[in-house]
């Protein structure tokens, strides 16, 4: 029998929501890592029992957690919970993210632009996003703040920076926004193991075609009011990017204003906001079986991060953008002032595609019919930071 497992990261722990294919009755497990900010939880497509977690705290810093049994138990990779470690230097350092500025990278980079225009040292703060490999459960990528991309090939026990990203040339001009300079989006091209897309607030989107050794900005066609130069190579505040596995060259972007589309792997973008009531927002995703069906959650503005008129609505386009319809059935139609963060929307791959999103008010909503009707799975979690889904056919 088919089932789904929804992995929810919140400000005060992680939760696992499970249901069968009907997606009507749900089991809620958690909180795991209670009291910690869980920026992201994501399962490996290569092994559904393997799940990676970014666990972080202003007091105690960054931890990586891993489950090998589908979320029942957790441990820091390489550090069994109960064992007394052997003597000698540690072999596993799952929480160490050390920027690689060695000459061997070819382009050592030490600083980026700061709010006052000066150059500021790169400082690790947290992991925003974990992206397991599509084919190997032990390979996983991490997008971090201050923006950089790391990879582990031993199940999260050790991490190494793909330094070509920071060092490709525009790095010194990257500048944090008020939310920090985080690498929040990592997309692994299912058709090309050497191609990866990433996005950074507020540097923009970048692509590698050689497995991460070299990178280029892919921001042509993006327009941002705060950037006078219409041809600016970097500096755009990209909120999130999504693709469909059958059309990996077609990208959809929710930007800080504007919903954008590229049909050539990011080489050029054009706006598809169309008839959206507002095109500010964070989350964006694509129907599991319809590459031209996309979902966004419009938010009033960059000054007021809540839905228009207090009505929480998802908007769906079945034409790849421009023509959007509101989806409201089952969602609050008044007095709703929550936000939906960039990693807080996901889809399952059951025949009738399910779509899920979590709010900063602690609700997780689900639809089992691609958006026509929504119901809350849970209402009172801590503020939701991320939502991912695993599908079991």
């Amino acid at each position: 029998m088919s089932s789904v497992r929804v992995l929810v990261g919140t400000r005060k722990g992680a939760f696992v929501l499970s249901s069968d294919g009907k997606r009507k009755d749900w089991t809620v497990s958690g909180p795991f890592f209670a009291g910690w900010e869980i920026y992201h939880v994501k399962g490996s497509p290569a092994d559904p029992n393997r799940i990676y977690v970014s666990q972080t705290s202003g007091w105690f810093g960054q931890l990586i957690q891993r489950s090998d049994d589908g979320g029942k138990t957790w441990h820091q990779p390489g550090l069994p919970n109960e064992a007394i470690p052997p003597p000698g230097p540690p072999s596993a350092l799952p929480n160490r993210f050390e920027y690689d500025s060695s000459p061997e990278t070819g382009k050592p980079l030490m600083t980026h632009q700061w709010y006052d225009g000066t150059q500021h040292p790169w400082e690790f703060k947290r992991v925003w996003h974990v992206e397991p490999s599509l084919t190997d459960p032990d390979t996983v990528y991490a997008g971090v703040e201050d923006a950089a991309l790391f990879r582990s090939t031993d199940g999260g026990e050790n991490w190494h920076e793909l330094a070509g990203l920071r060092g490709h040339g525009t790095g010194p001009m990257w500048q944090p926004g008020a939310g920090g300079m985080g690498l929040h989006t990592i997309i692994l091209d299912p058709s090309n193991p050497n191609r990866i897309y990433i996005a950074i607030s507020a540097a923009g989107a970048f692509r590698t075609d050689d497995g991460g050794a070299t990178w280029k900005p892919i921001n042509k066609g993006l327009r941002s009011q705060f950037i006078p130069d219409p041809n600016a190579e970097i500096g755009h505040c990209v909120h999130h990017v999504a693709i469909h596995r059958l059309r990996p060259d077609v990208l959809f972007m929710q930007k800080h204003w504007d919903v954008m589309r590229s049909d050539n792997a990011g080489d050029h973008w054009h706006e598809v906001s169309g008839n959206l009531p507002t095109d500010f927002g964070f989350a964006i995703d694509v129907h599991a079986h319809e590459p031209e069906t996309i979902y966004v959650v419009p938010i009033k503005s960059d000054s007021e991060h809540f839905p228009l008129d207090g009505k929480l609505r998802v908007y769906r386009s079945r034409t790849g953008g421009n023509e959007w319809e509101p989806l409201a059935k089952g969602l609050p139609e008044r007095d709703c002032y929550v936000n939906v963060l960039r990693d807080a929307m996901a889809v399952d791959s059951l025949d009738k595609c399910g779509v899920y999103f979590g709010t900063t008010g602690g609700q997780v909503y689900a639809t089992a019919d691609a958006g026509d009707i929504w119901t809350p799975i849970v209402r009172d979690l801590p503020a939701v930071l991320s939502v991912e889904v695993q599908t079991f056919d």
Binding site: G61, E82, N95, E98
Partner: protein
């Protein structure tokens, strides 16, 4: 107290904040064998060697410095700004009182 070669080792108590006790899977204070001289650095090194899941949670990985929202107390004195290589008060070094590691109360 035990000895290895000519270096004394003592049993030191460390009181951890709630979340670090959970991470380390311990209840109450932890007991550590620490070779003299018993300094803050020596105690933290011993703590992290015995409980590697705590690495990076008390001292920043990159700098080795105390994390900003943690404090160290020994014999009712704030040791947060002392040199990590200064010897801890005798009562703590002898294991009669714990080294306290506290998280900032406000925030969250």
């Amino acid at each position: 107290m035990s000895s290895a070669g000519n270096v004394r080792a003592v049993t030191v108590q460390v009181a951890l904040p709630y979340h670090l006790r959970n991470l380390a899977h311990v209840e109450g204070d932890v007991l550590l064998e620490v070779r003299a001289p018993v300094t803050l650095r020596a105690v933290l090194d011993a703590l992290e060697a015995r409980y590697p899941m705590l690495r990076g949670t008390i001292r920043d990985y990159a700098t080795g410095q105390r994390r900003a929202f943690l404090r160290f107390f020994a014999s009712e004195t704030d040791w947060s700004h002392e040199s990590p290589d200064a010897e801890l008060p005798e009562a703590v070094a002898a294991g009669r009182e714990p080294l306290l590691i506290l998280g900032a109360i406000a925030g969250g």
